[in-house]
């Protein structure tokens, strides 16, 4: 838990979403990923980035539970 702060996790996820083409101004904890035009391929890429940065392996079942940016941050923070 202590290894990675929620701020670090939030930054990696936010930067990833922006690199995928999401509008930076629209990204906040409550933003729905679909509203940010983030789809299943983006989430597959995000999972890879998360594993690389935090050593957290997300299954496709985990990813299916994510609907907002906050969900993604919390899920990773829980396991990192």
């Amino acid at each position: 838990m202590a290894e990675h702060s929620p701020e670090q996790i939030e930054k990696v996820i936010t930067d990833s979403l922006i690199s995928f083409g999401a509008n930076a101004d629209e990204i906040n904890r409550d933003a729905e990923l679909t509203a940010l035009d983030i789809d299943s391929l983006d989430l597959a890429e995000l999972s890879q980035i998360i594993e690389e940065h935090f050593g957290v392996e997300l299954t496709s079942g985990d990813v299916a539970e994510i609907s907002t940016v906050g969900d993604a941050i919390d899920l990773v923070a829980e396991r990192a």
Partner: protein, 399 residues
């Protein structure tokens, strides 16, 4: 049977972004080859595509998308599709597909293991990616697929599109070719074949020719059923009169020495078009600048067109942009249409020394006005031949 007409064109080539710069710069004698390669230097994907669209596409697909956006706007489709989306196809050829993506992911796997391979690798590398992306971008829901026949892929795509419209599978097809193979592996591989020019100069049909110069780019045309196009008041650039395709069944890289497969493709294209050899006023040659192609193609032209071959200009777009592989046939069809429309035939740049065996008129030095006296019509053929022995010829008439 209805005719098939060309209502829009778009291109990204080493001569710039757009079909007009391709033709105008070539006709002005400008060569887009630098340091032995025809790179589409002006092309920056995100200047034309969203970040999302750009990163969901290998460079060959990016090039096709941008050429397709120009072509659809040129066809007057900017405000929406003119036909039922189910009746509009997307047929885009490529010789190699997303080789840059393959190389990058292979490196990632080598360096970091299989988990470093991108989930985007497959959708970016697949050879049908450009046809799929063009379909999705514009909402085209008719026949959509890629054609693969090495350096005749673009011409085969257009020929297949002509057939799809004639057959009634589609009222229109967005078609062409795209290639982005200026990558380390691709360079090394073509180099190992001894096919690339060691001088870095593309001079088709010249005695000093020493191989082809690789290029990249895309050409996209909007083809429509002639009756439907006229009914909607479309501006018609050209009629796609005919298409002929054959195979050499001879050698995987060398053309048949007598050019008989190429000659047969020319003859079939003319038969398909209902055009006599004497009606051809211009040949846009495959003209790669390799010893073998340029000799075999010259023989094929004389065999298919007879004495008339000596009477008409033959020039190679590859002298200005290099060899665009699977995009070549499409880009060259566009250049052919614009040359016929302008009645000005661009030259084979760099041609200066005659090879005694290559005795046609290769349009040296500068563009030449097209003489359409005696009621001759602006009808040309555009040749494309590919590794594997593929021969594809298009017969085009400007309107």
């Amino acid at each position: 049977m209805n005719d098939v007409v060309v209502t829009g064109i778009g291109a990204v080539t080493p001569l710039g972004i757009g079909a007009a710069p391709l033709y105008e710069r070539w006709a002005a004698g400008i060569c887009g080859i630098e340091d032995g390669e025809g790179r589409a230097r002006e092309f920056v994907a995100t200047e034309h595509l969203s970040v999302k669209d750009a990163r969901r596409a290998d460079r060959f697909t990016q090039l096709a998308l941008v050429a397709s956006i120009e072509a659809l706007a040129d066809a007057g489709w900017g405000e929406g599709l003119p036909y039922d989306a189910w009746k509009i196809g997307s047929i885009i050829g490529t010789g190699i597909g997303g080789i840059g993506t393959i190389e990058a992911n292979d490196r990632a796997m080598f360096d970091g293991g299989p988990k470093h391979v991108s989930p985007l690798a497959v959708p970016l590398m697949m050879g049908n990616a450009a046809a799929a992306a063009v379909s999705m971008r514009h909402g085209l829901r008719g026949p959509a697929f890629g054609t693969v026949s090495a350096c005749s892929s673009g011409a085969d795509a257009i020929g297949t599109a002509i057939r799809a419209i004639r057959h009634g599978d589609a009222l229109a097809v967005v078609t062409g070719g795209a290639e982005a193979a200026l990558t380390p592996l691709s360079r090394a591989a073509f180099g190992a074949l001894d096919a690339l020019s060691t001088s870095g100069v593309s001079r088709p049909f010249d005695a000093r020719r020493d191989g082809f110069v690789m290029g990249e780019g895309a050409g996209v045309l909007v083809l429509e059923d002639g009756e439907a196009a006229r009914a909607r008041g479309a501006r018609i650039l050209a009629v796609a009169r005919g298409y002929g395709a054959t195979a050499d069944a001879h050698h995987v890289t060398a053309p048949h020495p007598t050019g008989e497969g190429a000659a047969a493709a020319i003859t079939r294209a003319l038969e398909d078009a209902g055009v006599a050899p004497e009606e051809i006023v211009y040949v846009n040659a495959h003209g790669t600048s390799t010893q073998l192609n340029d000799r075999a193609e010259t023989i094929a032209l004389k065999s298919a067109l007879g004495e008339h071959a000596y009477a008409i200009p033959v020039s190679s777009t590859k002298s200005a942009i290099g060899h665009l592989l699977g995009a070549g046939g499409a880009v060259e069809a566009i250049a052919t249409i614009l040359a016929l429309r302008a009645k000005l035939i661009p030259p084979t740049l760099g041609w200066a020394e005659r090879d005694p065996e290559l005795d046609l008129d290769y349009v040296p030095d500068r563009a030449r006005p097209l003489d359409l006296g005696d009621g001759r019509r602006p009808i040309a053929i555009s040749n494309s031949f590919g590794f594997g022995g593929h021969n594809a010829v298009l017969c085009l008439e400007a309107t």
